[in-house]
């Protein structure tokens, strides 16, 4: 009987969740000092998506365990920041967090009373959380109408039974999160970040810690998230990648990234950041030309 139920559960796993909810093992050879961060990351991603996603986190982290130039402190930071980025805040996550808060408060009479949370997303962010097969035609239509970046307010309420029911429906969409448009983009971002850390360890080990910390540029949701993402890509495309490619002779990449990050403002046109990157590039190219001439 148990095997029949297990087969039925496997058949419907896309709808009712994965059968096996055992957490993955810690990466092989993980230093003891990093165990708390990695365990926390696994716990977060189990709650966020499930064991398969937590396993992906472990596999990604495994690439840096025992690698030359990666000490426990750096590995801990990679583990912490990667868990935060893999647990990105989409409307599904906000619904999950609100429900968890509500369930915690239900057993605690001293907890603050239920409230309505009104958050601003963009249309593409909202639709992008749906499976690609559903989301892509809608995104194409929004793009055609010029509404892709329009802000849209979403209520996350635990005040009424209907509000809680709605949160549960939204949170249940996590089953399809890995098929979503947003997931594809987040996956590409995490891989690019890890790739840049890897290249830095090979080419400019001193800058690796700064590149690891660059993940903190991207946080939250809505316009703030988009701004951080655009700034990060501007930094990588303008300074980091050209340096690794050997096109830009930047002797101290870490300092250059720190300088450019300090110039970044909450400006969609990125004027200050782009100016700073251009100045750093001009200085580096001039210094390179002088060194070649002299």
């Amino acid at each position: 009987m148990r095997s029949i139920l297990s087969s039925i559960r496997y058949l419907l796993s896309d709808f009712i969740g994965e059968d096996d909810d055992a957490p993955p093992f810690l990466p092989e050879g993980l230093p003891d000092a990093v165990v708390p961060e990695v365990s926390e990351g696994i716990h977060l991603l189990m709650d966020y998506q499930g064991p398969g996603y937590a396993q992906l986190y472990v596999d990604r982290l495994q690439r840096f365990v025992g690698r030359r130039g990666v000490d426990s402190a750096m590995l801990g930071e990679i583990a912490r920041l990667m868990a935060l980025r893999m647990g990105y805040e989409d409307p599904i996550r906000i619904a999950q967090l609100r429900l968890a808060e509500f369930e915690r408060a239900a057993g605690d009479p001293r907890a603050p009373s239920a409230e309505v949370m009104l958050l601003k997303f963009r249309f593409d962010e909202l639709i992008g959380a749906l499976p690609a097969a559903v989301a892509q035609p809608v995104l194409d239509l929004l793009d055609w109408m010029g509404w892709t970046h329009r802000p849209v307010s979403i209520r996350f309420s635990t005040k009424s039974r209907w509000g809680i029911r709605r949160l549960k429906i939204e949170a249940s969409l996590r089953r399809w999160r890995r098929f979503s448009v947003r997931y594809t983009k987040e996956r590409a971002w995490v891989e690019r970040w890890l790739h840049m850390i890897g290249r830095s360890l090979d080419k400019q080990p001193k800058a690796a810690a700064v590149i690891v910390q660059s993940a903190t540029m991207i946080q939250g949701y809505g316009d703030g998230y988009r701004q951080g993402l655009a700034d990060w890509h501007a930094l990588i495309d303008g300074l980091v990648k050209p340096t690794f490619d050997g096109v830009l002779p930047l002797a101290d990449l870490g300092a250059a990234i720190t300088e450019a990050r300090a110039a970044a403002m909450p400006d969609p046109r990125q004027i200050a950041l782009k100016r700073s990157i251009a100045e750093i590039r001009a200085r580096a190219l001039a210094a390179g030309a002088n060194a070649a001439a002299g």
Binding site: L56, D59, R63, A188, E191, R192, L194, H195, G198, R199, K241, F244, D245, G246, V247
Partner: protein, 224 residues
């Protein structure tokens, strides 16, 4: 003479006859026999529905018959193509009907080194480069065909689009599905993958032999 009881018995016998085929269809374990028995069941049910003028049954069964025939044709063609490929140029073109299109622009990265591989890619147009080795892949090249069988499933290099083009992709889960549904396909797929692996080893050995004096490191690759 009243013959209604005779036609009633004939109807019961016919329903029993059709049921035998339906039950036999359900006992099939793999896709090709399942489709063949499905087609036979459709034909029997259609044949039995004609005298009683069961038009709805005839229409529904005809539609299922067409679907079963198309799927059987697709499956047989797949086995034939993969078998032919094993015996000729080891190409993977037979996968094309199961692939979906994706367009890329210059500078876009398809995947990064060490990333977990989840699909196989076929280059249709444009220029794509494996950045760590600096090798440019020609149109018609397949990427990631061995990743499905490797234990780590990690990409061994980064693939970047150099000039806008199109790629066909098929997920490993889709290939696994074909493999499980069709043992003949599975067998020939394994032979094909092994043959390609041996071919790669032979190429590497040849390149190693050509590098008699250690060659200087070639121009730096520019990973994304």
């Amino acid at each position: 003479m009243d013959t209604s009881h005779l036609s009633e018995h004939a109807g019961t016998a016919a329903a029993l006859f059709a049921s035998v085929f339906v039950v036999a269809t359900s006992t099939m374990r793999t896709m090709i026999p399942l489709r063949i028995f499905g087609i036979l069941s459709n034909l029997v049910v259609i044949g039995l529905a004609i005298p009683s003028r069961g038009y709805l049954v005839i229409v529904v069964q005809s539609l299922v018959l067409v679907l079963n025939s198309y799927r059987l044709h697709q499956m047989l063609q797949l086995v034939r193509d993969v078998k032919r490929s094993v015996n000729s140029d080891l190409s993977m073109e037979w996968l094309k009907p199961f692939m979906t299109e994706r367009k890329y622009i210059a500078g876009e990265v398809l995947f990064y080194k060490d990333e977990k591989a989840e699909d196989m890619l076929y280059i249709v147009s444009g220029r794509f480069r494996l950045v760590e080795s600096g090798i440019e892949l020609p149109v018609g090249a397949i990427v990631g065909e061995l990743g499905m069988l490797s234990p780590s499933k990690g990409r061994t290099q980064t693939l970047e689009c150099v000039e806008a083009g199109m790629i066909l992709s098929v997920s490993y889960s889709k290939v696994e599905e074909l493999y499980v549904q069709n043992p003949a396909f599975g067998f020939y797929f394994l032979r094909l993958a092994t043959a390609r692996l041996f071919e790669n080893i032979a190429n590497l050995e040849q390149r190693l032999a050509q590098q008699a004096p250690p060659a200087p490191i070639s121009a730096a690759a520019n990973p994304a």
